[in-house]
Amino acid sequence: MKKAANIYTILCFLILYAPVAVMILFSFNSTDSIFSFSGFSMQWYESILSGGEAVDTLINSLVLAALSAVISTVVGTAAAIGIFHMKRKWIKNATMQVTNIPMMNPDIVTGISMMLLFITVGTLINANILGFWTILIAHITFSLPYVILSVMPKLRQLDPNLTEAALDLGCTPMQAFLKVELPAIIPGIISGMIMAFTLSLDDFVISYFTTGATFKTFPTYIYSLVKKPFKPNIYALSSIMTIAVLVLLIISNIISARGENSGKPAKAKKSRSLRKGKEGKR
């Protein structure tokens, strides 16, 4: 029984990784074919070093993802706090419903609806506005709900008495927020930001509809490539990204596993950092 389960697991992973294996294999191809493998060479990895459009668009995507993550985190965190403290139930519900729309809606509908808006505005002011800024707006819009949804639970876990205490002890509301509330919800904010970053980096459909003449993201660039015979340098670039992510994930796992296995040192570390924080404040 157990053996069967293991075989099943391995089989699933084989299928899951077959295309990845194909990609990595062909990234070492010695010719520029992505269909037939003729021999090993590192030329496609070397070609990345010399730049080119693939690298440029990847950098575009990283910048876009970083900017949209930061903005949507700031706006989204503020929104989560605001929504959390809303008094009237129906306003709260309505806001949450609207916030959730981009998450529930299929990407293609979100993309098209924004495209219609941008085109109409563009026609009105008689200028082309499709480009970096429209993609940025679109990415912020679909990232916002994820940020809000990852901050919200942390706010709920927050003990309101803590804020009260801070206020009683002479903090201004702003200080109370910065010194008491913010540190408590930081994990939620950060995971929201990472979510926003990866979503934006990976998004193709919405960028495809809101993109214009002046700005290409990595996925939209790939889309224009996959229609024609492209070169294995894309594979090389993707392989590097995959390996980088794998290494990052494994490192984080090792670190957290070590923290869990030897509970004491981790705790000690934590309290030390807390103490440090106090000293800093003084």
């Binding site: 194909v22 293609i108 509301p173 996959v226 994930l249």
Partner: protein, 275 residues
């Protein structure tokens, strides 16, 4: 009740303004285009167009493909998630990383690699050719489209189910066994109902992208049959018919809202005894 600070009062304002501008108004545009013709006059013709048998067939086909993809994802993903959850904690973590890893690869590239695997002279057929098997028609079939959907969205099914199962109280299983359940009964009466919320979020996360995808059906189906996603895309990018395109999007949106609310209904009531 205590007074809200200025911050708490107005913190949501930018977000609300943003949502109105970039969520609500764009959706109004879709509605506007649905009910107007090319000249801007009111018409119901777009809805009439997509009520024709051909378009209904497209909707039916898309719904069927995505239901099949979702069910297959569930059938493959559930046992896998269950198996992963029963591994040693350290192995678990690594295996989950392995499940997530392909998701970090751009999905266009992932799909393209699938295409290379499945094509007539692709890797699988070349391999089979060594044994004297004629090339099978794997690509450009409805099976290929469904397979690509399953492949692309399987992690979305595994992760939520895994999360729920791994948090499940092991004592419940022991209790079930003590009370005379055999393994099969424990599975159907305890584990399955308790992981229902995970199943539901997995189903939603697979169903919605599958029903609206346009690249997968383009690449894997050879464009010889249409799903909703590519039909919508074609209206905007090729056929230059924003009105019919908007009507299709609106219907798709409503379809998804309906199916989501049905799913919510069944996931909200008492831990669901669907099975």
């Amino acid at each position: 009740m205590k007074r809200r600070s200025l911050l708490q009062r107005f913190a949501a304002a930018p977000h609300i303004a943003w949502s109105v501008l970039f969520i609500v108004i764009p959706l109004l545009f879709i509605i506007y285009y649905t009910f107007t013709d090319a000249a801007g006059g009111f018409t119901l013709e777009n809805l009439a167009t997509i009520a024709s048998p051909e378009y209904l067939m497209i909707f039916l086909r898309s719904v069927m493909f995505s239901i099949l993809a979702t069910v297959i994802c569930l059938l493959i993903g559930y046992p896998l998630a269950y198996r992963i959850a029963s591994m040693k904690p350290r192995t678990q973590r690594i295996v989950i990383v392995l499940v997530m890893l392909p998701m970090w690869l751009n999905f266009l590239i992932r799909t393209y690699c699938l295409k290379i695997l499945l094509n007539d002279q692709g890797i699988i057929n070349t391999f089979l050719g060594n044994f004297g098997i004629e090339p099978l028609k794997l690509l450009n079939t409805s099976g290929a489209v469904i397979f690509a959907m399953v492949y692309n969205y399987l992690p979305y099914m595994i992760l939520p189910i895994y999360t729920v199962i791994s948090k499940m109280d092991q004592n419940l299983l022991t209790a079930a066994a003590d009370l005379g359940c055999n393994r099969f009964q424990t599975m159907t009466k305890v584990v399955l109902p308790l992981s229902f919320s995970g199943i539901m979020s997995g189903v939603t996360m697979v169903f919605v992208p599958s029903i609206s995808t346009f690249y997968i059906s383009d690449a894997m189906g050879g464009r010889t049959f249409s799903l909703i996603g590519d039909t919508i895309e074609r209206q905007f990018k090729e056929a230059d018919n924003y009105n019919v395109g908007s009507a299709l999007s609106l219907v798709l949106m409503i379809l998804i809202i309906i199916s989501m609310s049905i799913m919510n209904k069944y996931s909200d009531d008492d831990g669901g005894v669907v099975v």
